[in-house]
């Protein structure tokens, strides 16, 4: 344990109270540890089968639990080997075989096999948590998990598919995800808890201490305080340069900025535009902006008779100052985007085509007049009380007021906002959504395809169902695209869907998220991708 020398201290009187002063307190982070500050509020589990939020995903995927395959950081639509060294697909396209590396080991040194990998995938289906949808949407089911996912020997994983999906799509949608990681089956079975006759497959145990094949393991997690990762020296890939990764929960941007400037942390993950602007001038700080595959949008509930009118919905799209917002309120945090497929995903419209709207009050006025509401109307918008949402909502409401549309705002806690959305209990909802894999399918399958629009169908995980909108032609097109193995033809179908949705859909997208991360320039090779952040490559 190396610690900085503490110098002589003397008490001093500050304006308010007695303040203990430490002499020349030029703090520095330990040389063999990477210290990161972030808002870790959302963290609730480290079990890969359960992770559904950004903190857990960032820490676990690729850092504690290596995925079977990886995205190519330079081109996310191209897949690279990771724990699986190769893959092949049968001629009929219904059997996918993944060959695992022979040198996979858990942190304590014992070998990890395809049986562990198969068990890890099967338990995702059995547990039915958030990750289960990653598998079920490709035809895997809880009841057939054992036949569909098999280990034929120590290094071979065989998957039986219900349809001949394009291989790259499948690898990207499943095998580069948190669910396709290798947990220790023995530890999981031994520590499994049974309630009401159902095993938890070690969920309660892995929740705080996942035992995984990966470059690091979790050595400490104090909720809302600190997470410490320790290096696994037996890791199969290139040896991570940092011995420890320390993540500190610092929920206030200004505090993070001061810590970074003073050198008490190496990396700051939660910084407001104001703080980033201030750091821009600092030569010791680098700001990295990564275009994420997440979108911010206003969902319009078509159960509402006025919002059911496509002209009204189109008018709303002309009430947003896309460029203005991106340059001001969303500086460092978002760029204009109106298509439902984020830039960077396979088959996404390009930058210009994906954002054809501008703030145009005259056009909006004309549209609502054509729709039969020349004098406007009144609607309520629900939104999160956090971050930039209030400013964006007020911006939209103020523009709407200029053409006679009155939008009343109602702020609420996130959990409440999501529930209202899932219950279809809103008129307008300001919210966001992140694609889970870099393919148009990820968004289209949830934001355009609505298999059953009835309220009682309860497809609450589909934002498009929440708006009560459905288009059978779009459903058919999306299904066809999913099975189309010719990339050019797939791209063409998705292009049609995107253009149609942009003008007729129930959701007005206005920005694609940018993730700014600031670090001290002594940190090298910290590799940030739109889905994963590779802690192991960093050095300083």
């Amino acid at each position: 344990m190396n610690r900085p020398a503490r110098s002589f201290r003397l008490p001093a009187f500050a304006a308010l109270a007695l303040v203990a002063a430490s002499g020349a307190a030029q703090a520095a982070t330990p040389r063999d540890a990477l210290v990161m500050a972030w808002n870790l509020d959302a963290l609730i589990t480290f079990d890969p089968a359960q992770i559904g939020e950004v903190n857990g995903n960032d820490i676990i995927v690729g850092n504690v639990c290596s995925t079977l395959v990886n995205y190519d950081p330079k081109d996310v639509s191209h897949m690279l080997p990771s724990a699986a060294e190769s893959w092949s697909v049968s001629p009929d396209g219904l059997t996918l075989t993944l060959k695992l590396r022979a040198d996979l080991k858990f942190p304590d040194g014992h070998a990890a096999t395809a049986a562990d990998a198969a068990w890890s995938l099967q338990r995702v289906l059995q547990l039915g948590f958030f990750g289960a949808a990653t598998l079920t949407q490709w035809g895997f089911t809880k009841d057939h998990a054992l036949e569909q996912i098999r280990a034929t020997d120590d290094h071979t994983l065989v998957l039986t598919l219900d349809k001949p999906y394009p291989v790259d799509l499948l690898l990207s949608a499943i095998f580069a995800q948190n669910v396709a990681t290798i947990l220790d089956r023995d530890a999981g079975t031994k520590n499994a808890k049974t309630t009401e006759g159902r095993s938890d497959y070690g969920n309660a145990f892995f929740k705080t201490a996942p035992i995984c094949v990966g470059p690091y393991h979790v050595s400490r997690w104090d909720a809302n305080d600190v997470v410490v990762l320790e290096r696994n020296d037996i890791y199969f890939g290139p040896k991570p340069k940092m011995r420890r990764i320390i993540l500190r929960h610092v929920p206030e941007s200004s505090a993070e900025r001061l810590l970074l400037e003073k050198g008490d942390i190496d990396i700051a993950r939660l910084l407001s535009p104001e703080d980033l602007k201030a750091l821009e001038a600092n030569k010791d700080i680098h700001i990295e902006q990564t275009l994420m595959q997440s979108l911010s949008y206003v969902a319009m509930n078509t159960d509402d008779p006025i919002l059911a009118n496509p002209k009204v919905r189109e008018a709303l799209r002309y009430l947003i100052d896309y460029d203005g917002l991106a340059k001001t309120v969303l500086q460092y945090q978002g760029q204009p985007r109106a298509s439902l497929v984020p830039e960077g995903a396979f088959a996404a419209l390009d930058h210009t085509e994906g954002e054809p709207f501008t703030l145009d009050l005259a056009k909006a006025k004309q549209l609502i007049t054509e729709a039969g509401y020349p004098d406007g109307f009144s609607k309520k918008m629900i939104l999160s009380a956090n971050s930039t949402s209030p400013a964006i909502a007020q911006h939209i409401a103020s523009n709407a007021a200029k053409i006679g549309i009155k939008i009343d705002l109602e702020q609420m806690a996130d959990s409440n906002l999501f529930t209202r959305g899932r219950n279809r209990d809103f008129q307008l909802q300001l919210v966001g959504w992140g694609a889970t894999y870099p393919d148009a399918d990820s968004m289209v399958s949830r934001h355009a395809t609505n298999p059953d629009k009835r309220t009682e169908a309860k497809l609450t995980g589909y934002p498009v169902w929440r708006t009560g909108w459905q288009n059978l032609d779009i459903n058919a097109k999306a299904d066809a695209a999913r099975l189309e193995r010719d990339p050019a033809r797939r791209t063409a179908i998705y292009r049609d869907i995107q253009i149609f949705m942009m003008h007729n859909g129930p959701i007005a997208y206005f920005a694609q998220t940018i993730r700014p991360i600031a670090w001290r320039t002594m940190v090298k090779d910290f590799s940030v991708g739109p889905f994963t952040v590779d802690y192991g490559s960093a050095s300083k």
Partner: protein, 335 residues
């Protein structure tokens, strides 16, 4: 007779606690914040939602849920905190000492400055000292906490380097102390690790001072008010007439007589700091009780909230009972 009185006291405390828990529980269930969403997020489908809803026992009738919770609680089981993924008991074992440590130092500062200020203001009533004392206290109480906190960090941490930054310890010390009591200062002393001790002092002193500003204001203001009342009493005039010096009268008579009231006020101010430290805890990345309670509430996580309410309730009721006893036993007028 004494025994029956104790029994009645205990009974009423139990009734209060039960009422408190019931009120919290049913009110919590009325909140629109959905604990299931806190667990599964916005992307999850209905099957996942229904499964977790069932696992959390939310499909049982409200009264059944409450009774189950009470039963578990009596066995010492506070359940899991959904929004942190840990046991509530283990979360609180860390969060509670963190805040107690902060609040204790804050109240020491608040009393150390507030009481003399209040006495001086009363004695030199309507003099510049009085005005200064009152304004200082009031400004301390009315300035928005997070604003004071960030300004404090900018000046004393970033510019002057007198104190350490947000958090309870520098990262280099993170693993160097065994949590015996959860109070870092005490743990460091137990282990005899003075480096850690001084580092913890560096970290705690600024947030504690900022937290102290509010309680100092309350304390100095009420001290002034109590003292004024005493100073206007006839016995003070008599004592002075008997030739006692002004300060002797103030110290031996007036101040002694306000002690009971003062202790009550200080105790309540202290209890208030426990949940009132949320903003300070946020600015200073302090993993404390106030933030834990608020975050739990926002996530609709009743396990965490109920345990917190229980702790705050016990402290409040305990302090109130002590205050009541002091009133009845020490103040002759209430007999």
């Amino acid at each position: 007779m004494r025994l029956s009185r104790v029994a009645r006291g205990a009974g009423s405390v139990l009734a209060t606690m039960l009422g408190l828990l019931a009120l919290t529980f049913f009110m919590g269930r009325m909140l629109p914040n959905d604990p299931v969403i806190a667990v599964i997020g916005d992307h999850a489908d209905q099957a996942t939602y229904d499964m977790v809803y069932h696992q959390l026992g939310l499909d049982k009738p409200l009264t059944t849920q409450f009774l189950l919770y009470l039963g578990a609680m009596l066995r010492g089981d506070f359940g899991n905190a959904l929004f942190t993924g840990h046991r509530v008991a283990s979360d609180l074992a860390r969060a509670f000492p963190a805040t107690i440590e902060l609040a204790t130092i804050a109240i020491v500062i608040g009393v150390g400055l507030g009481v003399p200020l209040g006495v001086a203001a009363a004695v030199f009533r309507n003099s510049p000292i009085d005005y200064l004392a009152r304004c200082l206290g009031l400004i301390g109480a009315s300035a928005p906490t997070f604003w004071l906190g960030i300004m404090g960090l900018m000046v004393f941490y970033a510019s002057l380097g007198w104190v350490a930054g947000p958090g309870r310890l520098d990262v280099s010390f993170i693993d160097s102390i065994e949590p015996h009591t959860g109070f870092l200062l005490i743990d460091a002393l137990i282990e005899g690790d003075m480096d850690v001790f001084w580092n913890a002092v560096d970290h705690i002193i600024l947030p504690a001072s900022i937290l102290a500003a509010g309680s100092m204001a309350t304390i100095s203001r009420l001290t002034r008010s109590f003292m004024l009342e005493q100073l206007s009493q006839e016995y003070i005039v008599t004592a002075r007439a008997k030739g006692l010096s002004k300060w002797a009268v103030i110290r031996r008579h007036a101040f002694r007589n306000i002690l009971v009231q003062l202790v009550t006020i200080i105790a309540l101010a202290y209890a208030f700091l426990l949940e009132g430290a949320v903003l300070t805890e946020t600015v200073f990345a302090w993993p404390g009780f106030g933030r834990y309670l608020t975050a739990g509430l926002l996530a609709g996580d009743m396990n965490a909230v109920l345990a917190c309410v229980l702790i705050v309730g016990v402290i409040f009721i305990g302090l109130n009972m002590v205050a009541d006893l002091l009133y009845t036993w020490l103040d002759p007028r209430t007999r």
